[in-house]
Symmetry: C2
Subunit: 382 residues, 2 copies
């Protein structure tokens, strides 16, 4: 029995065939240490890496491919920005209630070390919307140094008004870091329009690349202090990192195979028409199917224009962990139970005790799988 | 014309077929977010990761597979140790003259930030040996907090007396970090015998895994402060990292495909007989071949028992960059020219101006390739 994979918010799976094929081909044909050699294979690897920067720069409509910085993960990209900014004691940092631990834990560390002040962006549970008026009032009182917002929640899929938040924040002189781990590749992202300072991406989610590459696109002139320092294959006589991006933040051997997979994923994406619309259709079907069971309670909004295909629910009579185990062991369905590394989201959603069951759809899910899921719900509840 | 690849100290290439095959299979069959789900595929991925920890623990004869911590690179592992130790102003840190920028640059940053004191381990250029008597005298004067030593130089292949250095350092209460990026997989490493506190490895060099995974094996009871913090798929309600290794230092989605490749590489290695001896035979042939050209000057010792198959040389009449370009463009030979990210090594070797040409051999080099290289030298010099 094939697995029905509903954990695409953790990582999209499977990847397009061309991604696997490209990774294997590049590993075999020029899986060397890119840009460290100067010989044919190393140059070819280096060119592929820069081409991938260009693909990303184009995707987000930014000015310079050199501002696309690769890190081994979105987590490391977020750490690199948060610890690379010159934050000092007393700085006011705002964050959304939907932040992942890859933001919350660095912020907590900064608070302990530097005594920064942390403020949660106000959220209206009734309308299930960010409250930007209240946010502006808070900015007036506490001049912001930085605001961090997940472009979309990995718990309930809610898309944040990143352009509006950036606009207000900039009015008060604060920088904005968007965590686009869940969004880039699925939602259109135009950095000229959003105008945030840092946009972090994960290669292995909606960009359909492999785990092993993420990064940050820098959209201002400010130079981050490198968090990780080491060999760069350039300026080797210097005991500090190169001055310019991307080398400044890219210590260690670049992961040519993962970047090649990401390159193939982005090219594949560019050939798909209306991937967002397709996934939203799946989402509508999914919400309709589970809507027939009064025992299933969706947490958050069901407005498919305001969310990604990431749905948190509770199943009456079961803990999230129980239902996940049942779905896995009896029906080979992969979903995720718990807090999904975003504990504060559950505080405002009222699901802190056991978290939620999360079903997250991807391009390779089918309507048939979702209808099958409905049949299984019949088995469970009738 | 096939490339003759002599840049194995940067990354071994090619990898054994089974490494490519395993990576592709794992990516396709269970390239999911390991240990984050709890469903079948995620569990299978998690088991593979822990099995790889066990393979490494066995390889270095350490007590606990949980002390094997994976990072995306050796660079990040070194940063994690150096910034994770609780170093304070006035601490005395010793380092070998052969350290890579992945050690030198973090040390420089610590010096700037914390005002630690840095001391180079004394080296006798005449005997081409570490001077441990002098080192002990320095330790007596400046109580060591930490000593960092590359197990083998990535410039001239010299193997460091890591057991002796650790013994003396421990006598004076200092911790020892060994950078085994060049060595693990090729030299036998027994942590019970060496007894260092931290042993860093690179997956993509002599372990024949891919770029994208390295790590540190912790060999003491001390808990490092996490440098990178974020989601761990565990203890998600906590705003700090899990207390215990390995989770404590492993934020972000584990790179299951790279770890699977490393797993296959280590298993492949365990089936090879006398890989060190085979490579030393190649090295002897290589040194014999270039020994016929008085125009080629080997930097460092030619004692094949004291070095890895990593040779730095200078070619009369050419800068290292010129000869590397010629070898690449006219003969399709991949070697590396410059400082090899180890500027202090060139200071004591007297090759700071342009660095050296480095030829580094691996398991997949053949005697025939080396004899071919000899013919090419004829072309160049006669």
């Amino acid at each position: 029995m094939n697995t029905i994979y509903f954990d695409n918010a953790a990582t999209t799976y499977p990847k397009p065939d061309i991604v696997y094929e490209t990774m294997d081909e590049v590993a075999r044909k020029y899986g060397v240490n890119a840009g460290r050699g100067g010989y044919f294979l190393a140059n070819k690897a280096g060119i592929l890496i820069d081409e991938t920067r260009e693909l990303l720069a184009e995707l987000v409509n930014t000015f310079d491919y050199k501002s696309v910085i690769f890190t081994p993960s979105a987590t490391i990209a977020l750490n690199s920005v948060l610890f690379g900014l010159d934050l000092v004691k007393g700085d006011n940092i705002f964050y959304s209630p939907f932040e992942h631990n890859s933001v919350l834990r660095p912020l907590e560390k900064l608070k302990e070390k530097l005594n920064i002040n942390l403020y949660e962006i106000p959220f209206n549970m009734e309308t299930f919307e960010y409250n930007l008026d209240k946010l502006e009032k808070m900015y007036k009182q506490h001049k912001p140094s930085l605001t961090v917002v997940s472009h979309a929640s990995n718990v309930c899929g809610l898309i944040a008004p990143v352009k509006g938040i950036t606009e207000i924040s900039h009015k008060y002189g604060g920088k904005v870091l968007i965590d686009g781990a869940q969004t880039l590749g699925l939602l259109p992202v135009d950095l000229k329009e959003i105008n945030c300072d840092y946009y972090v991406f994960a290669g292995h989610k909606n960009l359909y690349g492999p785990i092993g590459v993420g990064g940050v696109i820098v959209n201002n002139e400010n130079l981050l202090e490198p968090l990780i320092v080491g060999g760069t294959g350039s300026n080797s006589e210097e005991l500090v990192m190169p001055y310019e991006y991307p080398g400044r933040l890219e210590a260690g051997s670049p992961n040519i195979v993962a970047i090649a997979g990401l390159n193939a994923g982005i090219k594949w994406l560019s050939k798909q028409e209306n991937i967002l619309e397709k996934e939203r259709e799946l989402l509508k079907t999914f919400l309709r199917v589970i809507g027939e069971y009064p025992e299933i309670n969706v947490i958050g909004t069901k407005d498919t224009q305001r969310i990604l295909p990431v749905v948190s629910c509770l199943f009456e009579g079961y803990t999230p962990q129980d239902i996940a185990r049942l779905l896995d062991q009896s029906f080979n369905i992969a979903v995720r139970a718990g807090l999904h590394c975003a504990p504060k989201a559950h505080k405002i959603l009222g699901t802190s005790l056991n978290g939620t069951i999360r079903i997250s759809l991807g391009y390779f899910n089918s309507e048939k799988e979702i209808l099958n899921f409905g049949n299984i719900l019949d088995d469970i509840y009738y």
